[in-house]
Structure formats: C-alpha cells, structure tokens
Symmetry: C3
Subunit: 338 residues, 3 copies
C-alpha cells in the first residue's frame, strides 16, 4: 500500500453534516476522527481516541465546548487538551488528543493531516462555484475501492459510454470519437478534456434544440492533489463558436478523501430533485461502485504498476495524475527523511 | 498451502452449464475464469480479468464471438486477443488475456492450466459411463474445504457408517467388517475397494430380494490425478459368484476441482427424481459438508502432515493418493526449476 | 499478543452447564475443548479435536463413558485414550486426545491448562460465598474484548458513573469523590477498594432508609490470578461504624476466562428475577460491551503499553494487576526456558 500524502487539504464533510451541539465521526487516511463545532461556531477536528484507554471519543458526549469520553469522563477541549478530569475536577495536563488544522470553505470542511505550519487555507482547491445560495443537494457516500481507482475512473470519462449508458444516456460512441487533451496548469492542476464538436445532443437536451440540431459539447475534468476533482460541462449550438450555449455552463464537484487504503469518501452535488437523486444513485451506486469494487478485489494488495496494466491513449489523464502523486509522495518522504 | 498441480485436466463445469450466447464465471485454482461458447460451438476459457484495469470480464457482455469488458469496452476473442478497441475501432495488440486449453468430453468441460502443448485430451479421466442419453441430473456444489480433505473423505467410505447412517442407511458395521484393498493401476489410478461378502442388503434393496437373502456387495472408489473420482457399486446374490446381480452395476462421478485452497467444486450426478435429489442434498450438504468444513477450520493453514494425524488401516487409499499427489507436485516443481 | 498464563485455574463453566449424558463445547485460551460428565459424575475436559482427522469431537456423540467422533467412529474415554476403534472393535493405543485436570468447586467447573502435577485444587480462588442452596441465576456471556481489558474495567469501577449511570443509577460523582485504596494480600490477591462515607444512597436503597439519611458505602473488588474477580458491596447507616447495615453484605463473582486473545468468557450471578436479569443485560451487553469492543478494535493487535496509555490515580488497581500478570508470565516463561 502506498502512503497517503500528508501535506495536503482533504475534505472531511459538507458543512451541514457537522451538527450543532453534536459531532461527526469518520475514518480518514485509515484513522478515526471526530469533528465538532464550538459554541462560537469554530470547528474542531480531533483524533477519535481517548488517550487514557483508547475508547472512541465519539462514544461519549458533548459537554459545552468539550467532548467527554464515555468510559471514565475525561473531557477534551478544542485544543485537544484534557480540560476536566472528574476525579479531581481539574484539567489533566498529561492527557492530550491530536487536533488538526480545519477550515470551512466552499460549503465544505477541510483538514490538513500534515505539518500544521504549512496548512495555508489558500491552498484549498477552488470550488467557488459552490459558493451560492441556490438550492443544491450536497451528498456523501463511501466507495469500497482505493481513492486512486476512483480518480482513474473520473479522469477517464470514456467509461461512461459503457457503464453509464443507461443512466446518463451517453450516446454510443460520443467520447470515443471525440477529441482528447490532457493539460497541466501552472498551479499543478491536471485537466482531462474531451471535446465533441458537431455531436448529437444527449437525450435530455434534445427538447431544447431544433429538430436534428447538432452541438459542440465538452467535458473538462480537473484534478488537484491529492484527490479533489471537478467536472465542467458545456453544450453550445454547433457553428456558434461556443457563444450560443444550450444551457448555462455546469460544474460539479467530485471530491474524494481516502477512508482506508481500499475505501473512499465521495462528496458530490446534484439538483435537489428526486429525479436527480435517483440518477446519481444509479450512476454511482449501481453502475460505478460494483465495477470499482470488483477492480479493488481483483487487485487485492498488489500495487497498480505491479499488475502491469495495459495503457491506452484515453488513460493519459489518469496516468499523469498517478505520476504526479508519486512525485508528491516521494518529495514528502524525502523531506521527512532529512 | 501446497501448490496446485498444473499439468493436469480439471473439470470446469457440466456442458449444459455454459449458456449459449452468455458465459459462466467460476474461480479455479484460486484465480477467476470465464467460460463461453463461440457461435460455432467451440468453447473458450479465459482469465476473468481485463488486462487494462483488472475488472472481471464477466461484468461485461458477449458481443458476437467476443467478450467485451463492461468498464471501457475492450473486446476479447476466443484466442485471448483484443479484437476491438472502441477508441480506434481496431484490434489492440498489446492487450491479451490468458486462455487455457479446454475440451468437452463425457458431458463435462475440462481445462488444462499447465503447459498447453502437453494438454492431450486422451489424458482426461475416463467417465465413459456418462456418455449416454438417459435422463440424469448433473449437479454442482461448492464445499468449504480443501479438495484434499474431500478426496480423503471419498477414499475412505467407512465414514458412511457414521456420517451417512441416516441418509444412505448403511447398516451399522458394514464396511468396518468388510474386506479392504487398495490397488494401483498401470495408468496411475488408485482404487480403494471395499468388498462385503454375505452381507445384509441396504434397506432400499430388501424389497428386491427373498426374505432374509444375503448379498455380495462391493464399493470400488477410483481416483485419478489430480482430483477425479468415480464410485462403482455392485450388489449380487450371495453364492452366485457375482453372476446374479440384484441391480445393474452402478457408477457415479465424484469430480472435484479446487476453487481456492480451502474450497472445492464438486460435480456429481443422480437419478432425476426429487427423492434422489433430497438424498444427495442431505448426504452432501447436511452430513458431509459440516464435518469437512469443521475439519478445514480446525486445520486452518497448517499442513496436513504437520498436524501429525493418526493413520488407520482404513486410510490406506487416501494416504496413497496424498503420496502420489506429493510425487506429482514435486516432479512438476522440478521440471519448472530446470 | 501476550501468552496466556498456563499454570493457573480457569473457570470453564458453571456446573449446571455440563449436561448429563451430553457435553459442553467451548473455546478456551484459543483452543477448542469439550467437557462432559462420566456416569459416576466425574468430569472430563478434553481437546475438542479428533487426532485422526481433526474433526471436533463435539460433532460426534456420547457413547457410555466415551465421546465418539462423528466422522469415523473412534471413541475416547475420560483419560483421553481411544477405547474403541470400530474397524477392530479394540482400543487404539496410538490415538490419544489431551485431557486437562478439571475440578468442580464453588458451583463451577475449573481447569488447569499447565503442568498437571502442579494442579492443586487448593489454589482455586475462594468463591465460598457461592456455596449455598438459595436460588441464584448463574450466567455466562462472551465479551468481544481481551480478558485484560475486562479486568481493567472491573478494577476501576469509577467507569460506572459514566457507563452505568442509567442502569445501576450510580449518582453523579459517587466514586470520583470517594476514597480509593489498592491493597495486596499475602496470597497475591489485589484489592481495589472504594469507600464513600456519608454518601447519598443509590436509588434502590432510598425506600429502605429514613428520608434524607446518608450511608457509608463500600465497593471492594478482589482480583486473583489470572482473571478471577469478586465484588464485595456494603451499605451501612452513616455514623454507625458499619454496624447497622442497610442490607446484608453482598458478594458477586466476576470470573473471566480468555476464549481467544480478543474475546472473553464472563461468568456472573444475579438474583433469579426478571428485573435483575434485565439490569445485568443492560449493564453488561448494552453499556460495557460496546465500549470494551470499541477499545479492542482501537487497539487491534498493538500491545497495551505500546499504545502509551495515560495513567490516572484511579487506574492503580488495574495497573497493579497488569504488572503482577507480567511477572507471572515471565516467571512461567523462565521456567519453560530452563
């Protein structure tokens, strides 16, 4: 198993998932964490393990601006200090839990598992397209596959023609006949761009167009380390040089955070309608997930490259990301070794 | 765990289990395989793993004389070659899946996981007694125990007096008072033969005989490497020197193929009646299986001989098979080492 | 995983759990055992594994003063000797199963897994308070946590104020404001004693007292190696120097025996009423067990000390026991090494 990148921002949850007065417990990078909000609204992210007898603090209860262990009552504040020992009524200096830098941005909660002094919020990937007040369903699910396999999936959308032909109604040979380009930004983002000029529109767009009209269509997937993706979709009338859009440009977050080496949190959004919910359920849980999990089972604990995968031109984006992650992990390991 | 013998014929399925236009996916020798039939009726047995991203091909679909991966659409033909890459519309030379020699014989499908040039169909064990058109139920089940433990079970039928006293109605001390002989054929088959002269008939045979009549009875179990067994049963009127049979001689296949080191495919037949079905279900699933699985659990990953088993005279056939298998595995490993 | 102490008495079951004419199968110290009673009433404790093909003997049946394997019929007597081989009708000297010293005392069945010549019944911990004919429910359950974690739990009853506040109704800060003392007996027993003078009575005792009356209350937990505990409870009217008891002194066994490294048999008693049963179910299964199991999961296979636990003054009893067990294990390993 390859190590997780530590000096990076990961998404822990949507903001609304952390309840006032309560807490949210989740596994990240193969360790248990608990997230809660102080009375002043500030977030706390702490190791979900009491340093006394290792019981998850999430089996305890909130007590003011502390989280109290359910076994012997030690209470920890937002700095990770033991603020109250019931046997003395005093703080207990020798007991501390790890806390991580945590920031609320773009309607999500972000944490930095590495060196705290490097945790610059400006490094959080840009999801400004989520900063609005329109109704939107912000969802979370877990996939039983490595985050790297989910990235592979997203960085090669050509799979949609096979896996998602029933849900998204991608017509038979759209992407495979499209133009494919991989671009790297100055800031390290890697884009996997599909462009389909003069293509037939997807079924849902047909009613918006004159009969038989063709469209220019593009699907741009952006990846930012370690596992933050966003899909930008455009549909324009053919021959208008992208000036006459069929619908406004669309952007969707696909934000991944490793739960364990073989399971992944997946944060996504969709329109707040039952139809959109049903479509995402089908695409993610009935179509993608069985394939990704079968892939994970087939690989077991074997490294991806040791499996000697066949590389296709359509893999260019995914492979570029894997190489970039390898560089970043090596750089981090090198720093740690000095 | 001991290695599986590679240069040998194993049974994959009954012929009727491979559907026209579809496929049959099964685990053999701890790897996933998929079996399908081309339009001309020829069988194909290929690794159930796409060389591109390792998804089981059995999650895809048949497309003419190919099997197409469900993830990105690569299609493989009966030679294991990638005959179609949807991104180019062309074959993809660098992508191949393993295919194995596969032969249909004695109403079953047989495969050879070793060196293909040694795969002589004449080496398939003789089950000619299955080559008939009479109605017969050809069944398959999986036992959660090593194939070697199932062979032990079959090569020492004395267990029937204890495990199967309710199902087969073997009378109390039939085998334990019988004559026992182990014979090895010139072709390597090992026979474990029980003969019970002047014995009381089984309950089902009583109505066919004069009251109080005794019979000569024999149960001959034949083993052929690696795990192909057959039981030959005879019942004759005592004192007729086996000339006056009570019923025609019976022969039953007990063909085993390792699924994993601790689970085994079991191919068997019975008369196509509900009573015969119920009897086999009871004997195999309610009587044999719990004992074999408990035995496997007790052994865990420990080698049989490291468990220091007590050896009884009635184990002679089973022990002879274990020794023969050890010789064959060593010979194969020796060839591989050169 | 630390080794189990071998030269020690462990409780296998309550006497009434071993059925006449049958047997009781249980896992102890990570091995399977079977306990049965001969016609003369003497107990037998033997390895639950046939030496012939390793099937659990508990899948067989009693046959007089033997236990007969269900697979091939070898029958073993109370000395572990194979008394009957159905193929010869004779004993089979080469087949033996391990038997352990086993003693019935204090209404329980005790076994000694170490050197048989050291198995002195006088060393069985004193539970004479169980030797009476009054109705009493003697119960057994299994906790999915190491016996050492269950001992920790019992040797620090301060957890009751947090885990058991709903069941036992321990008032908010009873123990944490009490006096705490750890005492070691000459015979090696370690006592963790809580004394709460002039305290408010538990809710169940309030109706027995004048309104507003205070009590002197004590909870003395006794541990004896390896994992035999007993709780002695007293409630007396304040100011009477413990002469005027509210109820007679109470004593409860809390006897633990490792099933596996991470699961533990728990033997306990309660009054034979539905209310007492419900209270124990709640306290043990709904309150203690989830915490202990979560603790075990958090620790995984890591050694307790390698987890660098914070030590509180209230841990003194539990830590004293862990140190004593370490000494005993080292002494035993040293003897074995000579």
């Amino acid at each position: 198993m390859t190590a997780f990148l530590r000096n990076a921002w990961y998404m822990a949850s949507w903001s609304h998932e952390v309840p006032d007065g309560g807490f949210l417990a989740r596994r990240f990078l193969d360790k248990p964490w608990v997230i809660w909000r102080k009375a002043d609204g500030d977030l706390v992210m702490m190791a979900d393990r009491c340093p006394h007898r290792f019981v998850p603090l999430s089996r305890g209860a909130r007590d003011g601006d502390t989280l109290r262990c359910g076994y012997h009552g030690l209470a920890f504040d937002g700095s990770g200090a033991c603020a109250h020992n019931p046997f003395t009524g005093q703080p207990l200096d020798i007991a501390r839990v790890d806390v991580l830098p945590v920031v609320e941005k773009h309607t999500g909660v972000w944490f930095w598992p590495g060196d705290a002094d490097k945790a610059d919020p400006a490094l959080i990937p840009d999801y400004a397209f989520l900063d609005h007040d329109r109704p939107l369903h912000r969802g979370h699910l877990t996939m039983d596959a490595s985050y790297e396999l989910v990235i592979d999936n997203l960085m090669d959308l050509s799979h949609a023609e096979f896996i998602h032909k029933d849900s998204f109604g991608v017509n038979g040979s759209l992407l495979s006949h499209g133009q494919h380009q991989v671009v790297q930004d100055d800031d390290g983002a890697i884009w996997n761009n599909w462009t389909m000029p003069d293509s037939t529109p997807p079924s849902w767009a047909v009613p918006m167009l004159p009969e038989g009209a063709l469209i220019d269509q593009w699907l741009h997937m952006r990846w930012q380390a370690p596992s933050c993706l966003a899909l930008f979709i455009g549909l324009a009338r053919s021959g208008t040089n992208r000036t006459e859009m069929v619908v406004p440009p669309m952007a969707d977050p696909h934000i991944l955070t490793p739960a364990t080496p073989t399971s992944t949190h997946y944060f996504y959004t969709h329109e707040p309608t039952p139809e959109a919910f049903a479509l995402l359920e089908q695409a993610f849980l009935e179509e993608d997930h069985p394939i990704l999990h079968a892939q994970q089972e087939a690989m077991g604990e074997t490294d991806f490259w040791d499996m000697r995968p066949v590389i296709l031109p359509s893999d260019a984006g995914a492979i570029r990301v894997r190489r970039r992650m390898m560089q970043l992990r090596r750089a981090e390991a090198g720093v740690a070794e000095q």
